[in-house]
Symmetry: C2
């Protein structure tokens, strides 16, 4: 067992038993039983010993972080966080999280939908809609995004209404949004019924309007599921990946080694896939890489749409919503799967199978040069290692993948796909904050803002953030020699205080994580890794809005903080119905007041905010082609040369490509190889 390994099923069961003993007689709903990662101070010395193949002086204790909903005698639902030392089998801490809400409970959400559907007032409203014959109403429960209009102490759920017209549970009900909406209380009572606006000028209406049958359209336009569609195109011929000698990676438990890289795979209910102790050729690069949060605010100002704003990690959980990945579908080639473990409401271990896949991909050419004097060619292909997880959050899916390259770079690729969340609109109307994607179907504008947490360990934990810009040299300067006006140079400064920074491609502004204590012997500069940012518009919501106050990380593209154990979430620990003031900006502000915000040559964390302002295209309907966003981390004067220089040159003998002849048929591959 490694200190960074997620809790095993045995540990989960043991922790539940310990807690049940402690809370005897109380009705407990186990929301979380997860590893509390050891303090970094302990881990750094443990890892140091581990990599030197020495026994560690001490092994960090296995601690579980547990959240339970406990229904007290008063009937109130209390959220409690408990820390359990698994080794000593004892509760070592208890925190009553007053006014906080646990992440979304899918069993509860189903109960909300059921209660809403069963309410006679809802039924009466549905009758007033005069839906077409054969219509089945589908209710989709969403966590309530704070808009200041509601009591914040009780859990509130918003119910959005859709219908399907064909007799299949896989019908795309988002194609038929209804002008109905309800608010449901913690105790499963319908507390408010809304009639949604159906034009730009309208806000919430008092009265129901019958459904406009002109909105009924062909299944061809709205269905994505193959069982409900005409036969697919048949032109795409099979494409297979073969690795006759097996994969180039080795997996030992949660430890992966591949092409000079080593790392550990972690997984938890909230962040999903996490990566730990990432090294290249034995050199320390990153202590931890993880998605910290993502926020999806909708841009429709008409009430109750400001309540559509999802924290997909804090509210939903990237781990608990991770897909069970299938061979030949979600990855191609030789695939190693990792399972995750969560817990049931009763505290039993719950297996989340195949939540992470690990495989290799060819990535085109790594480097090439032809000596024009000799015509001799040297060309190597690039192989990458992919660690991928896919999550479904209601209508949307996100595909998260870390790509490791032989040149010691890392890329984090996010793909957004799935179905647009829709709203009703009158036939013939337009609104300024959405796209009509089918008759009567509005796909509202929204943003996807991701927060990538980069916990660096560039040749050790004492790191600095350096901001570099490239500038033209002045002309006609008395000191600087630039007579012909072509000179340019770079200027850099080291960030000394915690805070947020922005991108500027016009200045070639780049963010480097450097170790000032390690100077590259050739370049004479500190060793470093550079962030290749994803240029994105930041949060559009007004700074005083709840959206902005709740998602502080959306204010800046790059944040740097001083490392704190357990400071993992840039929108705060508890995002469900949060009120703001709990995110990264607030944490920085608090530490500034304490005088503990120095980040130069310290253990730092860098957070990158990126994403997309998603003003839907009709091409995103009825299911959206993947939209890719890519962030990179690349060595800059860290090594003493190209780290991929020793990758063998490509040969036809190994790659076995096949020549396609004049008529498109394939011809046996006996063609010459790279000229050496």
């Amino acid at each position: 067992m490694h200190p960074l390994d997620p809790l095993t099923p045995g540990e989960i069961a043991k922790v539940a038993t310990i807690i049940k003993k402690d809370f005897q007689g109380k009705s407990l709903n186990f929301r979380v039983i997860t590893l509390k990662e050891p303090p970094k101070s302990e881990m750094v010395s443990f890892l140091q010993a581990e990599h030197l193949n020495r026994a560690s002086a001490s092994c960090p204790a296995r601690i579980a972080r547990v959240q339970v909903n406990s229904r007290g005698e008063s009937g109130s639902n209390e959220l409690i966080e408990i820390l359990v030392n698994i080794d000593s089998q004892s509760v070592i801490g208890t925190e009553h999280l007053i006014g906080k809400h646990s992440y979304i409970d899918s069993a509860y959400m189903q109960a909300v939908e059921k209660a809403c559907r069963a309410d006679p007032r809802i039924d009466a409203e549905i009758q007033k809609l005069k839906l077409p014959p054969g219509a089945t109403v589908v209710i989709e429960a969403w966590a309530y995004a704070t808009d200041g209009m509601n009591d914040m102490n009780e859990r509130t759920t918003m119910c959005w209404f859709y219908m399907r017209l064909i007799d299949s549970a896989d019908a795309n009900y988002y194609a038929y949004p209804l002008e109905l909406c309800a608010e449901v209380s913690e105790k499963l009572e319908v507390t408010k019924i809304y009639h949604l606006p159906s034009s730009e000028e309208e806000t919430t209406r008092e009265d129901a309007k019958p459904y406009d049958n002109c909105k009924i359209h062909s299944t061809e336009m709205s269905e994505y599921h193959p069982s409900l569609r005409p036969p697919p195109r048949t032109t795409t011929k099979p494409y297979q990946v073969i690795q006759p000698e097996g994969p180039s990676f080795q997996v030992d438990g949660n430890h992966i080694s591949w092409e000079k890289w080593t790392m550990r795979v972690g997984f938890n209910y909230r962040e999903g896939l996490t990566l730990h102790d990432i090294r290249y050729d034995g050199r320390n690069l990153f202590y931890r890489l993880s998605l910290s949060e993502m926020f999806v605010p909708y841009g429709d100002p008409r009430s109750p749409y400001p309540r559509k704003a999802a924290f997909d990690l804090g509210n939903d959980g990237a781990g608990i919503n991770a897909n069970n990945l299938q061979l030949g579908c979600d990855c191609l080639g030789l695939i190693k799967y990792f399972d995750g473990w969560h817990n049931t409401a009763a505290g039993e271990p719950l297996k989340l199978p195949n939540v992470v896949c690990c495989h290799e991909q060819d990535d085109g050419i790594l480097w090439k040069h032809t000596n024009h004097r000799t015509q001799n060619v040297a060309v190597t292909r690039s192989r990458i290692l992919v660690l991928q997880t896919i999550i479904t959050v209601s209508n949307y899916e996100y595909i998260f993948a870390f790509h490791f390259s032989q040149d010691a770079s890392i890329h984090y690729e996010v793909r957004a796909t799935g179905i647009l969340s829709t709203a009703p609109i009158n036939i013939g109307d337009k609104v300024s904050c959405g796209t009509v994607v089918a008759p009567g179907v509005l796909a509202p504008y929204h943003q996807h803002l991701f927060s990538l947490r980069i916990d660096p360990a560039i040749d050790g934990t004492a790191n600095s953030l350096q901001i570099e810009e490239t500038k033209a040299m002045p002309v006609n300067d008395p000191v600087i020699h630039n007579p012909l006006g072509v000179g340019y140079t770079s200027e850099s400064k080291i960030v000394t205080e915690e805070g947020g920074h922005d991108l500027d491609h016009t200045k070639n502004r780049s963010f480097k994580i450097i170790n000032e204590n390690h100077i590259n012997p050739i370049t004479g500069t500190p060793v470093g890794f550079k962030l290749l940012p994803c240029y994105s518009q930041l949060l559009l919501a007004h700074k005083d809005s709840y959206h902005a106050r709740r998602s502080e990380f959306g204010q800046h593209a790059v944040w740097v903080t001083r490392y704190q154990d357990d400071e993992l979430f840039s929108a705060g620990r508890h995002t469900m119905q949060s009120l703001g003031g709990e995110g990264i900006a607030s944490a920085i502000e608090a530490r500034k007041n304490e005088g503990a915000s120095d980040v130069r040559n310290e253990d730092i964390v860098v957070w990158h905010t990126f994403g997309s302002t998603h003003n839907p295209r009709i091409e995103d309907w009825p299911v959206m082609p993947s939209e890719k966003m890519i962030v990179g981390l690349k060595p800059v004067n860290f090594f003493t040369g190209n780290p991929g220089l020793d990758v063998a040159v490509s040969t036809q003998e190994k790659n076995q490509s096949v020549l396609v002849g004049r008529e498109g048929g394939s011809v046996a591959g006996s063609s010459p190889c790279c000229r050496l």
Copy 2:
């Protein structure tokens, strides 16, 4: 024969014969015999008829554009452009290009190197360097970049000096830059000898300095060629792509059809790979896509380094320098190669074999959705068609690839690799415009600026450029309803005049090419395609510098012009020793004065400037890992839904992935498939 097909070898030979007849008695050096593409006015009606399977009323004439260097009686070297009608076998135009220089002639450059090496003054200077025993001097001739210091009428060549210390023609001589440089005249005479600066403060020196033997370093640090390196890593296991039923594309001559896409491949000495008449599902998208120019200015202000600034298309030619691509090396899987045809100096056809490769790649997931109610999954993998060409320009290579996707998007990927062009530096010194990558080896800062020419035909030739920005709605506005401050909207304007524009990710500024005459029946907005730009710093050289005046396209990220036949080159037709005033900005200025610069609902061309400010890392040495730059074109409200919706869902039966077991070994793939 299609009017857009490049000239055949037979046509090239025929054209040379016609011209030789016309220029009897003159010594001709045939630089170019290439297709002059037909006027668009003729082509549009031809293509319309072709796609309706009707005979065209008329077939555009086959016209060749020829450039010859003709040595006149006075011994002067005149550049002449001649147009030949191949059908009528007659010269139809002759233009004497006074003061212009043809692109780089490799035979001439070899003669320059030889003449320079043979000059006794050069030999004397080399003696003064007191090179270590066994040193072989290598001279690299570069086209002279105008710096205002030289007579512009004569062809001038710069010779840079290096050495190699081991007995192999594949040794990396860039590892040993010498402090010597020479200028050679058109008549192969050494006209100037420079001693290069070797520290920040120095400029050109009068006297030679002996070579500092401390600069001699291990081959391990400086050699990239596998024959000169220790054995490579052996951990990378073979990875093969199999398409048991053959490729999904069909090729007929230069016509490709693949997954609803159709297009024609073109190729010429200057632009290399060009694409024509690109359609999806029969709908017209782009008339022509091509790389228009690329500029690589170096940022070292010390003379003579301002003379290092290469127009890799206009000076060198992406076609003439295209690599002969090899099976199993430059592409993987089932590969179709296209040959190019050029001409010898004598006017004979010259085959450029395998200059373009065409193959398919798996590109991860195209779209996916899991219905969380039924747990039913639908997932499709994305297949892309890649058309790739690779060029070597002295030290650097560029990999240019168009990627076509099943969702009707196009991506243009550029990878920069190869070897850094180096300069000498004293041991222990630093300069502000370069990185020391090995002892005594400076890799100067430089930029790579690409100009992608997009000639759209979005549902026809009458197109407009629309600039859209996304903005927060005001709060507390008397008219706009945005009480909670979360609303946002997009605003767009249509560009009416030719000109240049810049990127701004903070405003989500996007550039759409739309057809205002075709309104999407569902969204109610004009059909369009959107540019996904590559955010890059623009040209750093001062606007009055020769660099800036010669590379006008580097001033702005997006240009729009009115289509003109033959206006293909954003830095002008003739870039060799150009003086400025011939690029896109000048063309726009001229038309503004003529009142012919309206671009709304006209036949327009959009040009995207992108690239990298390449301040070298030591990891780019001795051969640079590919640096990727990607530009995209994506439908926006062009179709009536996801164009990739009919791609079949993935199945293990077709994809044949293999499960990797607990110990890393592979296990037979009998795992379940996607749940339908």
